[in-house]
């Protein structure tokens, strides 16, 4: 009898708590249904779709392949250039179109700049999730410089619609080369400062090391990509392993997670892969700037009207968040029959329930931050 009573008194209940859709660290409108035992997470159910904008339906409804490009910008609004790049490559492959050298170089430089800009945002918000506000703004100062370069060449700061099928919407201004070179020069010391301030801060390491460990096997089974996969120690980068565009012409390393401060595949590894990737992007930009031809008509290969044959293609490119795949089925009309986007954030986020079991509520925030999702891409 007494035993029963004490058992009843000491019975603890699990608490279901709604993280989001309005929550400071879900990076948008992600809703996580978290079942907590004390502060320990027992289950997580991600609920997505709050930002669903029917990209695929829109793409089918457009009467021209090039009209889809502004919409691809909006899939992942943080790395719009990479999204455009992937889509345009897919359409060009379907059209079997050759693109001028200069265009390829400009595209690669822009994609790498965008990668840095996107990683800066990812790193900054990750720090913000863990309570470090200042690195976030330092990152934004640098990101702003990249956006200014983009504004000068495309006229827009965030959603560029700059890369078009067969070329570029307009030629880059003369100031592009020196300004980019200047940025590369000034940005290197900033990475060191960021490392001192955040990456190797012991509190930051305590918060991220050994948290949300994603083993390589699981990562592959879940088809994780980008820094998420590389953080788990798998050296896999589409720019190296399945080169598209002209990435086979550049020398660069693939940074992978090494478990420097904890286990391989923890949050810190994923974070650090991003920091090191920024350095590698700088290396690529430097080489590309050197090799880029100064003259050339960027509109040369742009087709007047896109005439498609029947066929289908799956093209994948390496965006800051991972493997972005465009599966395009074309028919004889001027609009795509089906466009499916394989969004890296969508796939990476589906791992969350598997790696956050047993973590604390604060760790869950760190894990979500280290996946670096963009909800626009998850929901499309």
């Amino acid at each position: 009898m007494t035993n029963q009573i004490t058992a009843n008194i000491h019975e603890t209940k699990e608490m279901t708590i709604n993280m989001g859709p309005q929550h400071p660290s879900t990076h948008g409108v992600l809703r996580l249904e978290v079942v907590l035992n004390g502060e320990v997470v027992t289950r997580v159910h991600p609920h997505i779709g709050y930002l669903h904008r029917c990209f695929e339906k829109y793409a089918e409804a457009m009467d021209d392949y090039s009209k889809v490009i502004p919409y691809t910008d909006r899939i992942d609004y943080v790395s719009a250039m990479n999204q455009e790049h992937g889509y345009v490559i897919a359409v060009e492959k379907l059209l079997q179109l050759e693109v001028p050298e200069r265009v390829e170089y400009v595209r690669v430089i822009l994609a790498e700049l965008q990668r840095i800009a996107s990683h800066l945002l990812g790193i900054g918000t990750f720090g913000l999730d863990l309570g470090a506000f200042t690195p976030f703004l330092y990152c934004f100062i640098e990101r702003e410089k990249i956006l200014t370069i983009f504004e000068k060449i495309s006229g827009a700061r965030l959603l560029y619609n700059y890369i078009c099928v067969g070329g570029l919407m307009r030629d880059v201004p003369d100031s592009f080369k020196p300004e980019t070179a200047d940025f590369v020069k000034t940005f290197r010391p900033k990475i060191k400062e960021l490392n001192d301030l955040l990456s190797y801060n012991q509190i930051f390491i305590d918060r991220t090391a050994n948290i949300g460990v994603l083993p390589a096997e699981v990562a592959l089974n879940y088809a994780a990509s980008g820094p998420m996969l590389r953080g788990s120690g798998v050296s896999w980068d589409l720019r190296k392993n399945d080169p598209y565009s002209i990435y086979d012409r550049f020398e660069f390393d693939i940074p992978v997670g090494t478990g420097e401060v904890g286990t391989v595949g923890d949050c810190w590894d994923r974070y650090m892969v991003r920091v090191r990737e920024m350095e590698q992007s700088l290396v690529i930009i430097e080489q590309a700037l050197e090799q880029m031809p100064d003259e050339g008509n960027v509109m040369e290969a742009v087709p007047k009207r896109i005439r498609m044959k029947e066929g289908e293609i799956y093209v994948r490119t390496e965006t800051p968040r991972g493997e972005l795949g465009y599966y395009i089925i074309s028919d004889k009309s001027s609009s795509p029959f089906r466009v499916k986007v394989r969004a890296p954030s969508f796939v990476n986020l589906s791992i969350l329930p598997a790696i956050s079991r047993g973590a604390l509520l604060s760790d869950l925030v760190a894990i979500v931050g280290s996946i670096d999702i963009v909800l626009g891409e998850v929901d499309r």
């Binding site: 021209d64 200042t134 100062i141 504004e151 619609n161 001192d196 801060n201 012991q202 509190i203």
Partner: protein
């Protein structure tokens, strides 16, 4: 124990390094631009607001067709034969009254796709970004410079001309038919004659 001491030392060391960095930044000049007082000069070709030079518009609808979000609304009326609308600054002859040229900037996605197909370069982006409104309807910019009276006038005129044309066409048709009939009867009679 040694490990813990080392960790503690690391903690304090990294905290002091971080604090040195923030202290340095405390005395660095800020990057803030005091917006309404100071404005950055926008680079050329910036995409902020669509503008139409309506005098150059020939009403070809290419921009409206290029728009992915259908934010451009154009209505044209064919000019009657008695008016000469002149030529655009690029030398293209104008044949249509542009009675309506509305751009809904609340729908616009600033993609610049309407700018490229324009044959007379009359639609373009201007670096004006301070046009927020309390009412969404105020974001529909009307570029047509024709007054409503003028619009009804040209429409009536066209209608009349069309009626006139139709009547003439009908007349011509009737005439043709008549002729045809006549001919047929002629041929009939001829045939009859021939058959005789």
């Amino acid at each position: 124990m040694q490990k813990q001491l080392k960790e503690g030392y690391q903690t304090f060391k990294s905290i002091f390094i971080g604090m040195a960095i923030t202290l340095r930044h405390l005395f660095q000049p800020s990057v803030t631009i005091q917006y309404p007082d100071v404005r950055v000069e926008l680079p050329p070709g910036v995409r902020s607001k669509l503008y139409v030079n309506i005098d150059d518009c020939i009403g070809c609808l290419l921009c409206a067709r290029a728009c992915p979000v259908n934010c451009i609304d154009i209505e044209t009326v064919k000019a009657t034969s008695d008016v000469d609308l002149g030529k655009t600054s690029t030398g293209n002859p104008k044949r249509l009254w542009v009675t309506q040229f509305d751009i809904d900037m609340s729908k616009c996605m600033y993609c610049d796709l309407c700018v490229y197909p324009c044959p007379t370069n009359c639609i373009y982006m201007v670096p004006e970004y301070e046009y927020s409104e309390f009412d969404r309807k105020n974001l529909i910019f009307e570029f047509s410079n024709l007054s409503p009276e003028k619009v009804t006038e040209v429409k009536d005129k066209l209608e009349k001309e069309n009626e006139e044309k139709n009547r003439q066409k009908e007349l011509a048709q009737q005439k043709k038919d008549q002729e045809k009939k006549d001919q047929e009867t002629d041929t009939d009679t001829d045939a009859g004659k021939a058959g005789e």
